[in-house]
């Protein structure tokens, strides 16, 4: 039985099939409206996450299935001290597929090793969040028509941002990808990504401090939040913070067909005046998140039934 722990669990071919299925779901939603009739998705959320949980629930309901689960550790038997392994064994008797979010890294892998049903990692601490990466890939694939031949700017907190690390891992499997890494010195990409991933695979990249300098070359701008608590001192934060706020003026330097993505929630790193620009696709990205989760649920259930 297959699970979804990391975006790299899928081969490039499997990922292409998943993207095509998600695209077909987008175009023909009625065709899939009863694809999961009488199937149940368990959402086991040990920490609050409104967006991801609702996206999974919407995905299952769009497929005609139903949803059960819990949305915090306090309202589950974890509060009584039950292990993740025991909880998933029990959930396997109630549901056909499970999405799990847990604050501890590796919790989803532990669940998958004891589960009788497919498990989707809906975020395990700062480790992996594969359905966010699949959402990002679908957004780029749908709106650009390709995942190759792209210059991708990654902006903000590149040190701790797991979405950025996952996206790099996923995109280097496609030809002619270049990265522009835009961040303050304190939040540069970790050396294990720079050396063991980018340099090791011969992926071209440049590191920059100013968003404006990078803007004209980009096909995709992936924004993340720069958090004050990541800085060593207030002075550096004040000096750098405006560098990483996307405004209308900065966007005017970009190509006409560049796309702005953001995993959300946004705080102030993208000015609201940018929202109406056709290049701002972060809310479309949320909608693609539902389609790709629908495709993932269908695919994992299909694989489960195959001999």
């Amino acid at each position: 039985m297959r699970h979804m722990m990391s975006p790299l669990d899928l081969t490039v071919e499997e990922l292409d099939n998943l993207l095509h299925l998600a695209s077909d779901i987008e175009k023909n939603p009625d065709k899939y409206a009863h694809a999961c009739d009488r199937k149940k998705l368990a959402t086991c959320f040990y920490e609050p996450s409104t967006r991801t949980r609702l996206s999974f629930e919407a995905a299952m309901q769009n497929l005609g299935g139903s949803v059960l689960g819990f949305s915090s550790a306090d309202s589950s038997s974890a509060a009584k001290g039950e292990s993740v392994s025991d909880t998933i064994r029990v959930i396997s008797c109630y549901a056909d597929i499970c999405a799990i979010r847990h604050p501890k890294e590796g919790a989803a892998l532990v669940a998958s090793s004891k589960s009788g049903i497919p498990v989707i990692n809906a975020g395990d601490g700062g480790h992996q969040h594969p359905t966010q990466t699949l959402t990002d890939l679908m957004t780029i694939h749908s709106l650009k028509g390709r995942l190759s031949d792209l210059t991708i700017g990654l902006c903000g907190d590149l040190k701790f941002g797991r979405t950025v690390h996952s996206l790099i891992h996923a995109l280097i499997r496609y030809p002619n990808i270049k990265f522009v890494l835009i961040s303050p010195e304190e939040l540069r990409i970790p050396s294990y990504i720079r050396q063991d991933v980018l340099e090791k695979h011969g992926i071209p990249f440049v590191e920059m401090e100013r968003l404006e300098d990078a803007m004209p070359d980009l096909d995709i701008l992936y924004m993340t939040r720069v958090q004050k608590e990541r800085f060593f001192n207030e002075e550096d934060y004040v000096r750098m913070k405006d560098f990483y706020i996307l405004t209308k003026e900065k966007l005017s330097l970009a190509k006409e067909d560049m796309l702005v993505l953001h995993p959300l929630p946004r705080v102030n790193e993208i000015s609201v005046e940018v929202d109406d620009d056709p290049r701002a696709v972060y809310f479309k990205q949320v909608q693609y998140g539902v389609y790709i989760r629908m495709a993932l649920i269908l695919t994992l259930l299909k694989w489960k039934e195959e001999p």
Partner: protein, 146 residues
């Protein structure tokens, strides 16, 4: 001159970095074996200057050589049967080690679920890097202090 008698069946662990034999004694859990164990510290070595050695008189399958490969793959393992060295075993870095080291990542699931095995996978044999199976946190090979 110190004299330690030969062993009939068991192991001689040779070329142990001087001063680390007691740590290896603990990691191999030799104190749990009901057999003769001799630890020789700071023996003269033409190759290493000085070295430690451990002689263990026990059945061949009583030692976990995988753990030894993780501890120090430069150690020579001489397997003794009927008072003779029958094999000089070369150690390799094991692909996976279970319950030898603990994940130090406080965010790892193993930090709160104590019954889970501590499993580390060899991800970069060249740099001798192991990563926790669950959180993928890097764990460099254990370095013994003398």
């Amino acid at each position: 001159m110190l004299n330690i008698s030969g062993i009939h069946e068991g192991f001689v662990l040779d070329h142990i970095q001087a001063g680390t034999s007691l740590s290896i004694y603990k990691d191999l859990k030799l104190e749990q074996l009901d057999c003769s164990v001799a630890i020789i510290k700071n023996a003269r070595s033409s190759k290493m200057g000085k070295k430690d050695m451990i002689k263990v008189e026990c059945p061949i399958d009583a030692l976990d050589l995988d753990i030894l490969g993780f501890i120090d793959h430069n150690i020579t393992v001489n397997i003794i049967k009927n008072d003779k060295i029958v094999e000089k075993k070369k150690l390799h870095l094991p692909k996976q080690i279970v319950n030898v080291i603990k994940c130090k990542n406080p965010r790892c699931i193993t930090s709160i679920e104590q019954e889970l095995d501590q499993i580390f996978i060899l991800t970069d044999p060249e740099k001798e890097v192991y990563r926790c199976k669950y959180c993928e946190e890097q764990q460099k090979k254990k370095k013994y202090r003398k």
